[in-house]
Symmetry: C2
Subunit: 229 residues, 2 copies
DNA sequence: CTTCATTTATGACTATAGTCAGTTTATATC
DNA sequence: GATATAAACTGACTATAGTCATAAATGAAG
């Protein structure tokens, strides 16, 4: 990965082309213009091709050339949409990750004890990563250490959504009287999540089995929760 | 980084050569053998060369060929000592990292409040990484996601040392009566450290200034500590 | 319909991390 | 000190991620 002087194709939501600006500002005209449509189609083809190949052959075994061919674009074009092979992985899986997390939150039964609710959310996230540990490893690596600063927005969005939901759980617990009233739910959400995340990384490093991880995590979360009573 | 079928040169402490085994088992003979001496010298040259170049030119700007030349070895030889360029970085800086941490612990004044002691330790670690954020980023990335499983031992050792020291602080606080007596210091150490670590990563991603990071961290640690009173 | 400017696409190319078959060097054994 | 075995070393080589000069496509303006 070498230095890149300039980004040429802007990434979907952050696009600043005249067309995009016009559209954003209010004219809800019929078609978003052929240019934008082509770009989105191409982007979709790239993501689909990359997802298929990464899942079928694994990350390391898939070359960027293969992806470009499968998406029917030139080799150089690929790097207008993703800055690195790893960045491509984030492009492919970030939405799914957010959806998994949100789905887990929406499945919760509000009357369960807080600790159970937290465990269910984190266990769901864990199961998601468990489907393909190798991909998960590279994906999380890239999320924590992005090669593409344009992706910081996506990452922030993901974290923000999780913290907000966790904060909601905490506020609910506070309201129901099971927790003290003076703490900042956002900060506690961050504490709980860091805990999950570090455990997750250790699990990825192969230090523990799923069950060991969950046991540890439960005990850690319990300490934090108990402290707030 | 491709698949490696076999490790040929074993890494220092984990070496299994006859010489090493003999030496380990008890015969404290005079010289460790020319072979072993050569290996250690070479290893030292590699580490020294890598450190100098990484610090002078930066990680990305330094090629493995340059390092090999500076260490006066063949290009292939380098990869008998480190499995990847990133792994080399860990080889170079892991001891220093451990020393920084231990030095920070030893500088503590036992009568300071627990929170102050924790902040001093974490602030010292932060200052260490602050000297070269780019190197720190790649170093921590490699520590959390090692490309060389032989390095898991080193990483475990580092974490273990930190957790042990943190545990000691907690036990002391418990003994002095400022904390409840029933919690497991090890688990709490892990909670506190995860917290520091996630904040550190966010700082590396450029989300906050040093001061903002420290403020956040202090408030988070305070929540955990307060819960243990 | 013709410019003209801008965005997007392309693939031949480059740089370099990491490999491996063959060689050298050290040690053990007689 | 000759021979055999194993460990360590080597550099020419390969694979591939990422670049960049050039070309094509699009849309705006007249």
């Amino acid at each position: 990965m070498r230095f890149r002087r300039q980004v040429k194709v802007s990434d979907g939501r952050r696009a600043q082309s005249k067309a995009m600006i016009a559209r954003t500002v209010g004219d809800r005209g019929p078609a978003p213009g052929r240019r934008e449509r082509n770009k989105q189609e191409k982007r979709a083809r790239i993501v689909a091709a990359a997802r298929r190949l990464f899942e079928e052959k694994g990350f390391a075994q898939t070359t960027t050339l293969e992806i470009a061919e499968a998406a029917d674009i030139g080799t150089g074009t690929l790097f207008l949409y993703a800055r690195s092979k790893e960045d491509l992985l984030v492009m492919v899986f970030k939405d799914e990750m957010l959806e998994t997390a949100m789905a887990a939150f929406s499945r919760l039964r509000p009357d369960d004890p807080l600790l159970e609710q937290l465990m269910q959310v984190f266990a769901a996230m864990l199961s998601h990563h468990e489907r393909d540990r190798d991909l998960a490893k590279i994906l999380l690596k890239e999320i924590m250490f992005p090669t593409n600063d344009d992706r910081l927005g996506d990452i922030g969005e993901l974290m923000e959504a999780i913290f907000a939901e966790l904060g909601r759980l905490l506020t609910a617990a506070k309201a129901s009287g099971s927790l003290r009233a003076e703490f900042d739910p956002r900060l506690v959400a961050e504490i709980l999540f860091s805990n999950y995340f570090m455990d997750l990384l250790e699990w990825l490093r192969g230090l523990w089995s799923r069950q060991q991880l969950l046991d540890r995590l439960r005990r850690q979360l319990a300490i934090t929760i108990d402290g707030l009573r």
